[in-house]
Symmetry: C2
Subunit: 297 residues, 2 copies
């Protein structure tokens, strides 16, 4: 699905950076190459790259350098990609397709998929801590801490655990939001805040506003995902559609109904635009808010 609100130039820079980060530059033997091949397979396979786009967009509010933003955005995408490999595993969501291709454990095997995910996560932290990255030491540590907090047991992984534990349970809207704010919201928010942290033109009050924007967009993204899962077919979606519905997973559509879910998405969209319009240099974030919203409409 092409959108006027995405940013193909930035996506192309992110693809190049990811290719470069996971390059097989050691001339290693065939046996050693399988793991890095699996890491590349599951990372360089496209995707919307919404998180790096958000990082770059937020960076323009603090005059961050584009090179640093592409690196930090790509690192956050690594965290996202590792989580998808593990989420797709038979013991978790048991998905055969991801972005229209075989999932990592189907293409290789379960062991390699587990290890590829593990190593991709490690690589993210290796890249930010590298002395080749021209960001101040204190900012690097803030970014590492923010990503780790968002990705760990109080964030993304904790949310995924809750999602599994909650399957088949009847959830309230509050419980659903708690789960999603961890599972997808935390890293989306981190993508925005880390981009803003990269630049020198930093103000606490803008950081606070971006925090709310991050919360809103994380939630909007998930509602849009649930709506898409309900309204699309497998071919368009590139992954197995209506799975959540069939498996009676708690989703915004299941709890609220499709119309109310769409209303909620619209409200979040409008609230986010109001905040962004109060900020300078927020055009890219406004575009991405349209982009995330239009998936649900």
């Amino acid at each position: 699905m092409l959108s006027n609100y995405s940013n193909p130039e930035i996506i192309s820079l992110v693809e190049k950076k990811l290719d470069n980060l996971l390059s097989n530059d050691n001339n290693i033997a065939a046996r050693d190459a399988l793991l890095i091949e699996a890491m590349r397979y599951s990372t360089l396979d496209g995707g919307k790259r919404i998180r790096p786009l958000l990082t770059v967009a937020a960076g323009s509010l603090s005059s961050s350098s584009i090179d640093n933003l592409i690196t930090i955005g790509s690192v956050i995408e690594l965290i996202h990609c590792y989580s998808l490999i593990h989420d797709d595993l038979p013991a978790m969501d048991n998905d055969d397709l991801r972005r229209g291709r075989l999932t990592c454990h189907k293409k290789y095997n379960e062991a390699i998929a587990i290890l590829a995910g593990d190593a991709i996560q490690t690589e993210a932290f290796r890249v930010i801590s590298s002395d080749k990255l021209n960001i101040s030491a204190n900012t690097k540590l803030k970014i590492i801490n923010l990503i780790a907090t968002s990705a760990g047991h109080n964030g993304m992984v904790g949310g995924q655990a809750l999602d599994l534990i909650n399957t088949g349970e009847t959830l309230s809207l509050v419980e659903l939001q708690n789960m999603h704010s961890k599972k997808t919201g935390a890293l989306i928010k981190a993508a925005i805040l880390c981009g803003y942290l990269c630049g020198d033109n930093y103000h606490d009050d803008i950081f606070t506003k971006l925090n709310t924007v991050g919360d809103n967009l994380g939630l909007l993204f998930q509602i849009a995902d649930d709506i898409l899962d309900f309204t699309s077919d497998t071919l368009t979606l590139g992954k197995t559609a209506k799975k959540d519905f069939v498996y009676n997973k708690a989703t915004y559509v299941n709890i609220l109904g499709i119309e109310e879910a769409q209303n909620m998405a619209q409200k979040l969209y409008e609230q986010t635009l109001i905040i962004l319009e109060s900020l300078s240099n927020s055009k890219q974030l406004v575009d991405l808010t349209h982009f995330i919203y239009e998936r649900s409409s």
Copy 2:
């Protein structure tokens, strides 16, 4: 197995620190608590704590503070613990027992075990990047980079992938050493080097010597493990014994025979002592060299 060469006081401080790092201080609801419970189950279950002991021992060569050493050692132990959870999974080594207790996926389930491992890895990087840790920003970044390099696809995880790929293959001694230098050697070396990096009394030539000590002890540790697997029974070992032998996995014992493996261990032990005796304040590292060696003799 009690040893005069271990250090119960340090181990007790590490246990307390790990308990504290993974404390459930959010008063979270029962559903949210399962993941942290699994993380605690697989981290606080004892073990020799050889990596934190090495970190603390190496830190005495650069006059590092004990508090910082305990934290950094515990963080490296987190990386080790996460790798054990994933290595034990059915798709990998398929072990039911670890340190005499059920493995994480047997106690909980596979999904929770995968996620607990993931979140423990993340937690390691969160802790080092925390502004509560009183180590200079540049040193923290060096430590993060060293741990990530040692734990990722060119280190521990890469070695585990090679181990799986190599199962059933005939390996040369060089190939076996390459695999183990990544799988277990890299993190053991990192444990030593990170401890040394923590202190202010830093010298390049000592770092270089400790690098060799790290290589030797990593190799010695693995040979000792293989010898133990061959000579012990399941009850003494606390995990399924003779698995490597039964499954015809490449080990030092399988390739060299038990006597030659023991000779190789003895040579590494002696070479390491010669280096350590040339360094001041190396008594703790000497003790740990005895400790690692005596497991194989």
